[in-house]
């Protein structure tokens, strides 16, 4: 089963106005490893034509990317109250 199908099972209350994680494209441009694309379990980080693409909407708030990025590009905060992932089982 593809991870996209797994993510489709999840409920989110997406905050259209606030991205709780941001990346610095300048840093990502020169990144030699793009380890975020391998570490993130929700496939929020992908390379499109060699360029890093990040979408916060699929984020499950696991915290991995903040540790995975050793180049200081990821700025991680909690989503604003009640927004983000909403697990039913946990």
């Amino acid at each position: 089963m593809e991870v996209e199908e797994k993510l489709a099972l999840l409920n989110y209350k997406t905050d259209p106005e606030y991205a709780h994680i941001t990346v610095n494209p300048k840093i990502c441009e020169t990144c030699p490893d793009h380890f975020c694309t391998f570490a993130c379990p929700a496939k929020c980080y992908t390379l499109i034509e060699g360029k890093l693409n990040f979408k916060y909407e699929d984020c499950v708030e696991c915290g991995t990317c903040d540790v995975a990025c050793s180049h200081g590009s990821v700025a991680w905060t909690n989503p604003k109250g009640g927004h983000g992932i909403k697990y039913k089982f946990g």
């Binding site: 993510l7 499950v60 696991c62 991995t64 540790v67 109250g81 009640g82 697990y87 039913k88 089982f89």
Partner: protein
Amino acid sequence: MSEFDAIVVGAGPAGSSAAIKMASQGLKVLLVERGEPPGSKNVSGGILWGKDLDAILPDWEKTAPLERYVERKVTSFLTKDSEISIDFKTKKFEQTKTGYSVLRTKFDQYLAKRASQAGAMVVSGITVDGLAIKDGRVIGVINEGDTITGDCVILAEGPNPRVAMAAGLRSKPEDTDVAIGVKQVYKLSEAAINERFNLRQNSGFAGEYVLSYLENDIFAGGFLYTNKDTISMGVVINIETLRRDGRTHSYDIMEQFVQHPFISRLVEGGTLQEYSAHFVYEGGYESLAKPYGEGYMLVGDTAGFSFSNGMILQGMNYAISSGIMAGETVIEAKKDNDFSEKSLSRYMDRLEKSPAILDKKNFAGMNKVVWSSLVHRAVPEMLESSLGMMLYENGEPKKHLTDIMMKSISSTELTKKDLIMQGYRLMRRM
């Protein structure tokens, strides 16, 4: 004059336990949780060893949403073709149960509700943006620019404590401090679970696995627990080796676990209900943060209280016990109306006598052993080849055990000297 005696940030087992303890003693407590409802952000890859709850909720075994008690515990090495296990089933815990599988969204909601019933003000769907600090003292929390004041703030944010980190009370974790946890929950009928795992009624199965079949020298562990009519399973991936590999996706390691020949048949026919992830804190004794200071305390995963030696995983129990100890400390501090660092150091006195710290201290360096090529590659390979020779007949004359063992050892990549050294270290750490 503060608005609250104590403000607790995070309604997981640690925060809710602290809130229950304090509120039931008449303290004015605010419990703030960013998830709505409480528990909806929380993921666990462990069993609830809940004995510590007795002190604050004597009726918890009758009232909490517990899934199954652990009757059967399995520790396994999974190679590409084989599973080598210690399979321990016991009736000993039928009366006095020691561990339960739980689903955290339900369980954490229950605890938060009990905190509310004990008299705490429980607010969910509110994210604390930071700590209010005055003259070097924590005096409250900030939400959307407003300060809510409390004599003491207890940070129970889990393993990714953004408030504690922003205030410099916890450092950002290194690769070796955390592992990536990925989890899946499958729906399966109660009858099918009972039959498949050899269980009856509310008895349950808890399995921990070493995934030695992984390619490219990546280290990861697996877990699988039975709930009433669902199965929780997942992987815990070592970041150092995943980074070194640099070409394998964490989500593929999850899928490979599901597809292992001896795991896939356990969830066969089940429907996937949920996919989730959270990093797991694994830092050792040396990387524990100072869990108290002027007007604040850190509890549970936020303080770094978790433990794993590959055979037993613990976290929720330390969360509960540290939450209770922090609560007791606030109750004492309130009597003296002294929430200084010195007064709150009584929390540390309590911790130092408790498993939350003692387990870390006594098993310092455990991580290096758990995440070693000995455990993840050499031992499972040796066991697979030697047991294959001992337990099966292949038409050849039988060999002595020592010959079989020596042959198995020589088939691994480790030298005999490495093996003895690493084996000694393993036994000593265990």
